[in-house]
Symmetry: C2
Amino acid sequence: MARSRRRVSWQSGATIKDVAREAGVSSMTVSRVLNKVGSVRDETRERVMAAVKALDYKPNFSARSLAKARSFQLGLFYDNPSAGYISEFLTSAVRACREQRYHLVLENCGATEDDWADAIENNLAEANYDGIIILPPVSDFTGVINAIEARGIPYVRIAPTLESTSAHSITINDEQAAQQMTAAMIAEGHRRIGFIKGHPDHGASEARLRGFMAAHEEAKLELDSELMVQGYFSYRSGLEGAESLLNLDARPTAIFASNDDMAAGALAAAHRFRMNVPDELSVVGFDDTPLARAVWPALTTMRQPIADMAESAVEVLIQSLSSKRTEADRVPPQHRILPCELIERESLVPPARD
Amino acid sequence: MARSRRRVSWQSGATIKDVAREAGVSSMTVSRVLNKVGSVRDETRERVMAAVKALDYKPNFSARSLAKARSFQLGLFYDNPSAGYISEFLTSAVRACREQRYHLVLENCGATEDDWADAIENNLAEANYDGIIILPPVSDFTGVINAIEARGIPYVRIAPTLESTSAHSITINDEQAAQQMTAAMIAEGHRRIGFIKGHPDHGASEARLRGFMAAHEEAKLELDSELMVQGYFSYRSGLEGAESLLNLDARPTAIFASNDDMAAGALAAAHRFRMNVPDELSVVGFDDTPLARAVWPALTTMRQPIADMAESAVEVLIQSLSSKRTEADRVPPQHRILPCELIERESLVPPARD
DNA sequence: CTGTTAGCGCCTTCAG
DNA sequence: CTGAAGGCGCTAACAG
């Protein structure tokens, strides 16, 4: 029972050579058939396909990557996201990848920007992704961006705030969306509206605030600065922000929390004040995370097209990969802006009359 | 300006050969230094490391995978999970992977078991994972399990219900945890407790119900069957389940929803009935997802050690890989059971006295 | 302790 | 339209 000296392959199934032998052709022909490049006589193709099926041949990913100098993998860089956001994004991104026979590899990192130095060097460098998707707030970390650019890997930034003409980006118009929401509240008859700002590090926060203020301007409404309080996108900060708003001498009749988590916190605050939402106080959120439907009353909120953004990101990336070969005419950076949608549920109604 | 005939490498940086040349050694020595195998003289090692640094050398993932016959990637198979669950699991799993220089690749699939056939064949086969982690409820899909086993890839099932002696599993003791929670409610003085069951397809549902009933038995308490209503782990089903419970002639003084989403629904139902939680009705959940803290009042719930489970899963998998070489003594399947923890918040108090 | 040889499985290039 | 030759970057196995 002498073992052959030849190393025993670990590849569970057949290799391209086995298929070639079985079909009576060269392995190149098999390769061409499988990759649908070049031209192969129909009859030959069929013979190859039959052999593939007979041997249950599956190409080896690593070998293909090595030879083609492509990993067929996209990296997803993120950091400390909200659960609803990431899970929706992932689901959609994975689906989009699969359609293109790509795979999505996760890289999350420490909560501080410093941790990124290691993360970048170790993951980005060694995993040689074909492209990278960067979720907020990482999409605004210049350290990360620079490291990626230094390696020349194509990347898409999701919802970045910092401008960049050289890289792809997928965004929503936070300002416009916030303005629309505020206008809707004004249209319901609210005149004193409280606003809970988002995390100062997160670029969208400021844009949403601008939208809030713009709507007031457009409606020629006064806007007390005491009506705009700081929040941090967390439930707790929403609760505290709403409490300080409700402690005001002249209470607002409605509160616009700049994300759903904080809106949920505002709901809790209202309960503590024994105020009935929405009859005595309207509350709206932003994002339309699953939480928006899970609380009571269900939140009127601004839907971010997260799934669409994920799909777009994958699409843009893979597109820019295929045209990368011809150095000259690489795709120009795309900056897609996707539309939001106002979701009307139960938490916004006209203000009570005295 | 004649271009060399040699193909221009796409590898952005240096290769192992460049490092070898720079350090004046063979590439094998470089390999040994980098992989920390075999022994290398200290001085040589230092020379190599210096060269690595000087050239900013990063090993090529694909080449290493091909040569070592390992992909250094773990697949995560999941399906339609709750947002909180998956995001917590991911965060922890990715961290654990990175420590071992592994990467996590996502594969989610259609909501039906049928969709899996394709998913399995296309992903599992071509991506050649070193190991696979399977989240519930997929961990109980026999079709999936069989397909994976057919390929002989190591895998870990998370929270499976179906027994399997041959494969690794990481579980919690759902029954015991539910019993503990129920006992806590009884200890608070509740005698009529409503129970909202989980999704019938999900194995944990039944176990949690058994625990609920066991606690009653142990306390020698009667248990009306009308107190146990069907739910589906969704917010809506919790709302509806709680409504039917509150419509009973003899209302329960507390409701045990077998996950947090349904508990949030029960909270909403209580509001509709104008009942004050927890003073007039206690409500508890299970899982301790972020939602548990986001609702008002914050839910008393049973914490699942999701992060620990993820870490364990990665650990078990990578462990079983390294010992796989010596065919004879492969690691025996591990069945780890991780402890839950009762998290006391605001939604469980003693029943009101008449 | 270190180097040489020979691939891993696939694909690019070039010749026919 | 098809095949032969050789390389992608790295490492197992075997010498020395």
